[in-house]
Amino acid sequence: MASAYYDLDAILAEEERVPTTFLSDAQDLGILDSSSDNDDLSRGTKAELPLWLATTLAERIWVKLELPRCYQSRFRTYLLADPTVVALSERSPTYYETGFRLASFVRESSSLCDSLIRTLATRFKGVIDKAQNSRNEDISSLTRSMTAIERRLFDLAHQGSIDILLWKQRDSERIHSARGMKRKLGAANAAR
Protein backbone atom coordinates (compact mmCIF):
# COMPACT_ATOMS: atom_id res chain seq x y z
CA MET A 1 0.00 0.00 0.00
CA ALA A 2 1.42 3.28 -1.09
CA SER A 3 1.08 5.32 2.05
CA ALA A 4 3.00 2.68 3.98
CA TYR A 5 6.18 4.04 2.40
CA TYR A 6 6.61 6.68 5.08
CA ASP A 7 5.08 4.67 7.92
CA LEU A 8 7.66 4.18 10.67
CA ASP A 9 6.13 0.97 12.01
CA ALA A 10 5.90 -0.58 8.57
CA ILE A 11 9.53 0.29 7.89
CA LEU A 12 10.79 -0.99 11.23
CA ALA A 13 8.81 -4.19 10.92
CA GLU A 14 10.85 -5.01 7.84
CA GLU A 15 13.93 -5.16 10.04
CA GLU A 16 12.74 -8.54 11.27
CA ARG A 17 15.62 -10.99 10.90
CA VAL A 18 15.06 -13.93 8.56
CA PRO A 19 17.32 -16.97 8.37
CA THR A 20 18.66 -17.07 4.81
CA THR A 21 20.74 -19.50 2.78
CA PHE A 22 22.57 -18.35 -0.33
CA LEU A 23 21.99 -20.62 -3.30
CA SER A 24 25.00 -19.46 -5.31
CA ASP A 25 28.38 -17.89 -4.88
CA ALA A 26 28.22 -14.10 -4.73
CA GLN A 27 30.90 -11.53 -5.45
CA ASP A 28 31.85 -9.07 -2.67
CA LEU A 29 29.37 -10.43 -0.16
CA GLY A 30 31.97 -12.33 1.86
CA ILE A 31 31.39 -9.69 4.47
CA LEU A 32 28.17 -11.44 5.43
CA ASP A 33 30.05 -14.59 6.40
CA SER A 34 31.63 -13.99 9.79
CA SER A 35 33.45 -17.31 9.66
CA SER A 36 35.31 -16.58 6.43
CA ASP A 37 37.97 -14.13 5.34
CA ASN A 38 37.00 -14.34 1.71
CA ASP A 39 35.91 -11.29 -0.23
CA ASP A 40 33.35 -13.37 -2.01
CA LEU A 41 30.54 -15.40 -0.50
CA SER A 42 30.26 -19.12 -1.12
CA ARG A 43 27.14 -21.01 -1.98
CA GLY A 44 25.41 -22.52 1.04
CA THR A 45 26.40 -19.73 3.42
CA LYS A 46 23.76 -18.96 5.98
CA ALA A 47 23.06 -15.44 7.14
CA GLU A 48 20.35 -13.60 9.05
CA LEU A 49 19.16 -10.83 6.83
CA PRO A 50 16.52 -8.19 7.43
CA LEU A 51 13.19 -8.91 5.82
CA TRP A 52 13.49 -6.06 3.33
CA LEU A 53 16.59 -7.61 1.81
CA ALA A 54 15.73 -11.27 2.33
CA THR A 55 12.49 -11.05 0.35
CA THR A 56 14.11 -9.02 -2.42
CA LEU A 57 16.77 -11.68 -2.92
CA ALA A 58 14.29 -14.53 -2.49
CA GLU A 59 12.11 -13.12 -5.26
CA ARG A 60 14.93 -13.85 -7.69
CA ILE A 61 15.57 -17.18 -6.06
CA TRP A 62 19.12 -16.25 -5.15
CA VAL A 63 18.47 -17.23 -1.52
CA LYS A 64 16.28 -19.64 0.38
CA LEU A 65 14.35 -18.43 3.41
CA GLU A 66 13.32 -20.05 6.67
CA LEU A 67 10.64 -18.79 9.00
CA PRO A 68 11.72 -16.69 11.98
CA ARG A 69 10.85 -18.29 15.28
CA CYS A 70 7.66 -16.38 15.88
CA TYR A 71 6.13 -17.90 12.78
CA GLN A 72 7.22 -21.47 13.30
CA SER A 73 4.57 -24.07 13.95
CA ARG A 74 5.37 -24.58 17.63
CA PHE A 75 4.78 -20.93 18.28
CA ARG A 76 1.65 -20.80 16.18
CA THR A 77 0.19 -23.71 18.08
CA TYR A 78 0.72 -21.73 21.24
CA LEU A 79 -1.16 -18.78 19.75
CA LEU A 80 -4.10 -20.93 18.81
CA ALA A 81 -4.23 -22.82 22.09
CA ASP A 82 -5.38 -19.85 24.08
CA PRO A 83 -7.18 -17.31 21.92
CA THR A 84 -7.51 -14.87 24.77
CA VAL A 85 -3.78 -14.48 25.12
CA VAL A 86 -2.31 -11.99 22.71
CA ALA A 87 1.31 -12.87 22.13
CA LEU A 88 3.94 -10.19 22.24
CA SER A 89 4.84 -10.57 18.60
CA GLU A 90 1.22 -10.20 17.61
CA ARG A 91 1.28 -6.74 19.07
CA SER A 92 3.60 -5.76 16.28
CA PRO A 93 1.42 -3.85 13.86
CA THR A 94 2.67 -5.86 10.92
CA TYR A 95 2.98 -9.35 12.43
CA TYR A 96 0.29 -10.77 10.18
CA GLU A 97 1.29 -8.84 7.11
CA THR A 98 4.87 -9.96 7.47
CA GLY A 99 3.71 -13.52 8.07
CA PHE A 100 1.71 -13.62 4.87
CA ARG A 101 4.52 -12.08 2.92
CA LEU A 102 7.02 -14.61 4.20
CA ALA A 103 4.60 -17.40 3.50
CA SER A 104 4.99 -17.09 -0.23
CA PHE A 105 8.72 -17.81 0.09
CA VAL A 106 8.68 -20.86 2.30
CA ARG A 107 7.56 -24.41 1.82
CA GLU A 108 5.08 -24.61 4.66
CA SER A 109 3.23 -21.64 3.28
CA SER A 110 -0.31 -22.99 3.33
CA SER A 111 -0.18 -24.20 6.91
CA LEU A 112 1.33 -20.90 7.97
CA CYS A 113 -1.38 -18.96 6.21
CA ASP A 114 -4.05 -21.23 7.61
CA SER A 115 -2.99 -20.76 11.17
CA LEU A 116 -2.52 -17.02 10.77
CA ILE A 117 -6.00 -16.76 9.37
CA ARG A 118 -7.44 -18.94 12.10
CA THR A 119 -5.76 -16.91 14.80
CA LEU A 120 -6.98 -13.70 13.28
CA ALA A 121 -10.50 -15.04 12.87
CA THR A 122 -10.58 -16.10 16.50
CA ARG A 123 -9.47 -12.66 17.56
CA PHE A 124 -11.90 -11.11 15.17
CA LYS A 125 -14.81 -13.18 16.36
CA GLY A 126 -14.14 -12.15 19.92
CA VAL A 127 -14.28 -8.55 18.84
CA ILE A 128 -17.52 -9.00 16.97
CA ASP A 129 -19.14 -10.91 19.80
CA LYS A 130 -18.28 -8.15 22.18
CA ALA A 131 -19.78 -5.55 19.88
CA GLN A 132 -22.92 -7.62 19.54
CA ASN A 133 -23.41 -7.82 23.26
CA SER A 134 -23.45 -4.12 23.84
CA ARG A 135 -26.82 -2.96 25.08
CA ASN A 136 -27.71 -0.13 22.75
CA GLU A 137 -28.08 -1.00 19.15
CA ASP A 138 -27.35 2.36 17.69
CA ILE A 139 -24.46 3.72 15.71
CA SER A 140 -22.69 5.49 18.52
CA SER A 141 -22.57 2.35 20.61
CA LEU A 142 -21.11 0.43 17.72
CA THR A 143 -18.37 2.91 17.15
CA ARG A 144 -17.76 3.24 20.83
CA SER A 145 -17.40 -0.49 21.25
CA MET A 146 -15.11 -0.52 18.26
CA THR A 147 -12.02 0.52 20.06
CA ALA A 148 -8.78 1.36 18.35
CA ILE A 149 -7.54 -2.21 18.60
CA GLU A 150 -10.65 -3.55 17.02
CA ARG A 151 -10.49 -1.14 14.16
CA ARG A 152 -6.92 -2.28 13.79
CA LEU A 153 -8.13 -5.82 13.48
CA PHE A 154 -10.09 -4.76 10.46
CA ASP A 155 -6.92 -3.28 9.09
CA LEU A 156 -4.98 -6.42 9.90
CA ALA A 157 -7.59 -8.37 8.03
CA HIS A 158 -6.80 -6.23 5.06
CA GLN A 159 -3.04 -6.26 5.41
CA GLY A 160 -2.98 -9.93 6.19
CA SER A 161 -4.97 -10.84 3.12
CA ILE A 162 -7.78 -12.12 5.24
CA ASP A 163 -10.89 -11.91 3.26
CA ILE A 164 -13.27 -10.62 5.81
CA LEU A 165 -15.03 -8.37 3.45
CA LEU A 166 -18.19 -7.48 5.22
CA TRP A 167 -19.73 -7.63 8.60
CA LYS A 168 -23.31 -6.75 9.31
CA GLN A 169 -24.99 -6.02 12.54
CA ARG A 170 -28.04 -8.15 13.18
CA ASP A 171 -27.36 -10.50 10.33
CA SER A 172 -27.39 -14.21 10.96
CA GLU A 173 -24.49 -14.80 8.64
CA ARG A 174 -22.47 -11.96 9.99
CA ILE A 175 -19.10 -12.43 8.51
CA HIS A 176 -18.90 -12.74 4.77
CA SER A 177 -15.57 -14.05 3.71
CA ALA A 178 -14.26 -14.80 0.31
CA ARG A 179 -13.60 -18.35 -0.67
CA GLY A 180 -9.93 -19.14 -0.57
CA MET A 181 -7.18 -16.75 0.20
CA LYS A 182 -5.56 -14.31 -2.09
CA ARG A 183 -2.59 -11.99 -2.06
CA LYS A 184 -4.45 -8.75 -1.60
CA LEU A 185 -1.73 -6.38 -2.67
CA GLY A 186 -1.46 -7.60 -6.23
CA ALA A 187 -5.08 -8.54 -6.72
CA ALA A 188 -6.55 -5.35 -5.35
CA ASN A 189 -4.42 -3.13 -7.51
CA ALA A 190 -5.12 -5.16 -10.58
CA ALA A 191 -8.86 -4.99 -9.96
CA ARG A 192 -8.69 -1.21 -9.88
Binding site: A2, S3, Y5, I139, D155, H158, L166, K168, Q169, D171
Partner: protein, 246 residues
Protein backbone atom coordinates in the same frame (compact mmCIF):
# COMPACT_ATOMS: atom_id res chain seq x y z
CA UNK B 1 -40.62 46.11 26.68
CA UNK B 2 -41.93 45.20 23.24
CA UNK B 3 -39.74 45.32 20.17
CA UNK B 4 -37.09 42.89 19.02
CA UNK B 5 -38.15 40.23 21.49
CA UNK B 6 -41.72 40.03 20.28
CA UNK B 7 -40.78 39.98 16.63
CA UNK B 8 -38.44 37.07 17.08
CA UNK B 9 -40.32 34.58 19.18
CA UNK B 10 -43.00 33.13 16.98
CA UNK B 11 -46.43 33.08 18.46
CA UNK B 12 -45.42 33.23 22.09
CA UNK B 13 -44.87 36.88 22.73
CA UNK B 14 -42.04 37.79 25.05
CA UNK B 15 -41.50 34.44 26.78
CA UNK B 16 -38.76 34.88 29.27
CA UNK B 17 -36.10 32.22 29.37
CA UNK B 18 -34.90 32.66 32.86
CA UNK B 19 -37.67 30.44 34.17
CA UNK B 20 -36.68 27.41 36.17
CA UNK B 21 -37.51 24.69 33.70
CA UNK B 22 -36.01 25.71 30.41
CA UNK B 23 -37.28 23.63 27.55
CA UNK B 24 -34.07 23.57 25.58
CA UNK B 25 -35.66 21.54 22.85
CA UNK B 26 -38.36 24.12 22.30
CA UNK B 27 -35.87 26.95 22.23
CA UNK B 28 -33.84 25.03 19.69
CA UNK B 29 -36.90 24.50 17.51
CA UNK B 30 -37.83 28.17 17.80
CA UNK B 31 -34.32 29.05 16.82
CA UNK B 32 -34.24 26.80 13.78
CA UNK B 33 -37.49 28.34 12.58
CA UNK B 34 -36.16 31.83 13.01
CA UNK B 35 -32.92 30.82 11.39
CA UNK B 36 -34.88 29.79 8.33
CA UNK B 37 -36.68 33.10 8.27
CA UNK B 38 -33.43 34.90 7.73
CA UNK B 39 -32.48 33.03 4.62
CA UNK B 40 -32.60 35.73 1.98
CA UNK B 41 -31.92 33.23 -0.77
CA UNK B 42 -34.95 31.19 0.17
CA UNK B 43 -33.39 28.03 -1.24
CA UNK B 44 -33.85 25.62 1.62
CA UNK B 45 -34.74 25.72 5.26
CA UNK B 46 -31.50 26.18 7.12
CA UNK B 47 -31.93 23.32 9.57
CA UNK B 48 -31.85 20.95 6.58
CA UNK B 49 -28.58 22.49 5.47
CA UNK B 50 -27.12 21.91 8.91
CA UNK B 51 -28.06 18.25 8.76
CA UNK B 52 -26.59 17.94 5.30
CA UNK B 53 -23.33 19.49 6.37
CA UNK B 54 -23.18 17.24 9.40
CA UNK B 55 -23.67 14.27 7.08
CA UNK B 56 -20.97 15.60 4.74
CA UNK B 57 -18.60 16.01 7.67
CA UNK B 58 -19.11 12.44 8.89
CA UNK B 59 -18.63 11.11 5.38
CA UNK B 60 -15.47 13.11 5.02
CA UNK B 61 -14.12 11.82 8.32
CA UNK B 62 -14.92 8.22 7.45
CA UNK B 63 -13.87 8.02 3.81
CA UNK B 64 -10.25 7.18 2.99
CA UNK B 65 -10.34 9.50 -0.04
CA UNK B 66 -11.24 13.15 -0.28
CA UNK B 67 -14.88 13.64 -1.29
CA UNK B 68 -16.40 16.42 -3.35
CA UNK B 69 -16.50 19.89 -1.87
CA UNK B 70 -19.97 20.98 -0.75
CA UNK B 71 -19.63 24.50 -2.06
CA UNK B 72 -23.26 25.55 -1.83
CA UNK B 73 -23.77 24.17 1.65
CA UNK B 74 -20.74 25.93 3.05
CA UNK B 75 -21.64 29.17 1.28
CA UNK B 76 -25.24 29.19 2.51
CA UNK B 77 -24.38 28.28 6.06
CA UNK B 78 -21.57 30.81 6.34
CA UNK B 79 -23.84 33.55 5.13
CA UNK B 80 -26.65 32.48 7.42
CA UNK B 81 -24.30 32.36 10.39
CA UNK B 82 -23.02 35.86 9.66
CA UNK B 83 -26.52 37.26 9.35
CA UNK B 84 -27.73 35.52 12.47
CA UNK B 85 -24.69 36.69 14.40
CA UNK B 86 -25.74 40.24 13.70
CA UNK B 87 -29.16 39.49 15.12
CA UNK B 88 -27.68 37.98 18.26
CA UNK B 89 -25.31 40.90 18.71
CA UNK B 90 -28.30 43.21 18.47
CA UNK B 91 -30.17 41.13 21.08
CA UNK B 92 -27.31 41.35 23.51
CA UNK B 93 -27.59 45.11 23.75
CA UNK B 94 -30.74 44.53 25.79
CA UNK B 95 -30.09 42.98 29.21
CA UNK B 96 -33.47 41.23 29.39
CA UNK B 97 -32.52 39.21 26.33
CA UNK B 98 -29.36 37.83 27.87
CA UNK B 99 -30.65 34.30 28.30
CA UNK B 100 -32.11 33.96 24.86
CA UNK B 101 -29.13 35.52 23.17
CA UNK B 102 -26.86 33.08 24.97
CA UNK B 103 -28.84 30.14 23.69
CA UNK B 104 -28.87 31.50 20.19
CA UNK B 105 -25.15 32.11 20.43
CA UNK B 106 -24.76 28.49 21.47
CA UNK B 107 -26.58 27.32 18.36
CA UNK B 108 -24.55 29.63 16.20
CA UNK B 109 -21.37 28.31 17.73
CA UNK B 110 -22.48 24.80 16.93
CA UNK B 111 -23.10 25.54 13.29
CA UNK B 112 -19.88 27.48 13.08
CA UNK B 113 -18.06 24.51 14.55
CA UNK B 114 -19.52 22.26 11.89
CA UNK B 115 -18.27 24.50 9.11
CA UNK B 116 -14.81 24.85 10.62
CA UNK B 117 -14.49 21.15 11.36
CA UNK B 118 -15.58 20.29 7.82
CA UNK B 119 -12.98 22.53 6.21
CA UNK B 120 -10.33 21.46 8.67
CA UNK B 121 -10.96 17.74 8.11
CA UNK B 122 -10.65 18.25 4.38
CA UNK B 123 -7.50 20.29 4.68
CA UNK B 124 -5.70 17.66 6.75
CA UNK B 125 -6.79 15.00 4.30
CA UNK B 126 -5.47 17.09 1.44
CA UNK B 127 -2.14 17.28 3.22
CA UNK B 128 -1.93 13.51 3.53
CA UNK B 129 -2.39 12.93 -0.20
CA UNK B 130 -1.24 16.23 -1.65
CA UNK B 131 0.93 14.81 -4.44
CA UNK B 132 -1.68 12.31 -5.46
CA UNK B 133 -4.41 14.94 -5.59
CA UNK B 134 -2.39 17.36 -7.66
CA UNK B 135 -1.47 14.67 -10.15
CA UNK B 136 -5.02 13.50 -10.87
CA UNK B 137 -7.59 15.74 -12.47
CA UNK B 138 -10.43 13.71 -11.00
CA UNK B 139 -9.16 14.55 -7.55
CA UNK B 140 -8.42 18.20 -8.31
CA UNK B 141 -12.04 18.62 -9.35
CA UNK B 142 -13.12 17.78 -5.82
CA UNK B 143 -11.41 20.78 -4.31
CA UNK B 144 -12.58 24.32 -3.81
CA UNK B 145 -10.40 26.97 -5.42
CA UNK B 146 -8.86 27.88 -2.12
CA UNK B 147 -8.18 24.24 -1.37
CA UNK B 148 -6.59 23.73 -4.75
CA UNK B 149 -4.22 26.60 -4.17
CA UNK B 150 -3.40 25.17 -0.76
CA UNK B 151 -2.84 21.68 -2.15
CA UNK B 152 -0.49 22.89 -4.85
CA UNK B 153 1.54 25.02 -2.49
CA UNK B 154 1.68 22.30 0.14
CA UNK B 155 2.81 19.65 -2.35
CA UNK B 156 5.50 22.01 -3.59
CA UNK B 157 6.60 22.74 -0.04
CA UNK B 158 6.89 19.06 0.84
CA UNK B 159 8.81 18.29 -2.34
CA UNK B 160 11.21 21.17 -1.92
CA UNK B 161 11.78 20.32 1.73
CA UNK B 162 12.72 16.73 0.96
CA UNK B 163 14.79 17.91 -1.95
CA UNK B 164 16.73 20.40 0.14
CA UNK B 165 17.56 18.07 2.97
CA UNK B 166 17.99 14.77 1.19
CA UNK B 167 17.23 14.28 -2.49
CA UNK B 168 19.57 16.94 -3.83
CA UNK B 169 22.41 15.22 -1.96
CA UNK B 170 21.82 11.84 -3.55
CA UNK B 171 23.10 10.46 -6.84
CA UNK B 172 21.09 11.94 -9.67
CA UNK B 173 19.31 8.75 -10.58
CA UNK B 174 17.77 8.64 -7.11
CA UNK B 175 16.72 12.25 -6.88
CA UNK B 176 13.17 11.77 -7.98
CA UNK B 177 10.34 11.39 -5.51
CA UNK B 178 8.47 9.08 -7.81
CA UNK B 179 10.35 5.82 -7.73
CA UNK B 180 7.79 3.91 -9.69
CA UNK B 181 10.31 2.69 -12.22
CA UNK B 182 12.47 1.34 -9.49
CA UNK B 183 10.32 -1.57 -8.43
CA UNK B 184 12.81 -3.34 -6.25
CA UNK B 185 10.77 -3.34 -3.10
CA UNK B 186 7.02 -3.40 -3.08
CA UNK B 187 6.80 -0.07 -1.38
CA UNK B 188 8.78 2.13 -3.69
CA UNK B 189 5.78 4.19 -4.65
CA UNK B 190 6.17 7.30 -2.58
CA UNK B 191 3.22 9.42 -3.46
CA UNK B 192 0.87 8.34 -0.68
CA UNK B 193 -2.47 7.30 -2.06
CA UNK B 194 -5.76 6.89 -0.29
CA UNK B 195 -6.33 3.25 0.54
CA UNK B 196 -9.71 2.39 -0.90
CA UNK B 197 -9.56 -1.05 0.69
CA UNK B 198 -9.86 0.46 4.14
CA UNK B 199 -12.76 -0.63 6.23
CA UNK B 200 -15.47 1.86 6.94
CA UNK B 201 -18.59 1.62 9.05
CA UNK B 202 -21.70 2.88 7.39
CA UNK B 203 -25.42 3.20 7.74
CA UNK B 204 -27.43 2.15 4.74
CA UNK B 205 -30.04 4.79 3.99
CA UNK B 206 -31.68 3.52 0.82
CA UNK B 207 -32.19 -0.06 -0.26
CA UNK B 208 -29.22 -0.90 -2.43
CA UNK B 209 -29.92 -4.54 -3.04
CA UNK B 210 -27.14 -6.84 -4.13
CA UNK B 211 -23.61 -5.71 -4.67
CA UNK B 212 -20.76 -7.84 -5.84
CA UNK B 213 -17.76 -7.78 -3.54
CA UNK B 214 -15.79 -10.02 -5.81
CA UNK B 215 -16.47 -12.96 -8.08
CA UNK B 216 -19.47 -14.92 -6.88
CA UNK B 217 -19.51 -13.13 -3.57
CA UNK B 218 -22.66 -11.07 -3.44
CA UNK B 219 -24.17 -9.39 -0.43
CA UNK B 220 -27.27 -7.33 -0.10
CA UNK B 221 -27.43 -4.00 1.64
CA UNK B 222 -30.80 -2.83 2.83
CA UNK B 223 -32.06 0.38 4.34
CA UNK B 224 -31.52 0.62 8.06
CA UNK B 225 -28.61 -1.78 8.25
CA UNK B 226 -25.35 -0.93 9.91
CA UNK B 227 -22.46 -2.41 7.98
CA UNK B 228 -18.70 -2.63 8.22
CA UNK B 229 -17.31 -3.02 4.74
CA UNK B 230 -14.37 -2.07 2.60
CA UNK B 231 -14.77 1.36 1.12
CA UNK B 232 -14.42 0.68 -2.60
CA UNK B 233 -17.68 -1.25 -3.19
CA UNK B 234 -19.77 1.53 -1.69
CA UNK B 235 -17.83 4.47 -3.04
CA UNK B 236 -20.52 5.62 -5.44
CA UNK B 237 -23.28 5.03 -2.95
CA UNK B 238 -21.64 7.38 -0.50
CA UNK B 239 -21.47 9.99 -3.21
CA UNK B 240 -25.12 9.53 -4.08
CA UNK B 241 -26.19 9.68 -0.48
CA UNK B 242 -27.60 6.15 -0.32
CA UNK B 243 -25.08 5.28 2.34
CA UNK B 244 -23.77 7.43 5.18
CA UNK B 245 -20.45 6.85 6.88
CA UNK B 246 -20.40 7.01 10.64
Amino acid sequence: MAGVEDDLVGGQGGRRLDDEDVDEGQVERDFQEEFADFDAFGARAKNVDVDLLRRALLNEKGAPELLHYEALLVKHLKEAVDRQQEVVDELQTNVSNMMRSMMYQMELDRVNYLIVEYLRTRLRKIERHAFFIIKHEEMRDRLSEAELRFAQRFADLQASHLRKLALSKMPEVHQKLDDQNNQVNMSTLIFPEPDLDSFVICQVLDDIGDIELEENNIVSMNAGELVAIRYWPIRDFVRQGSVALV
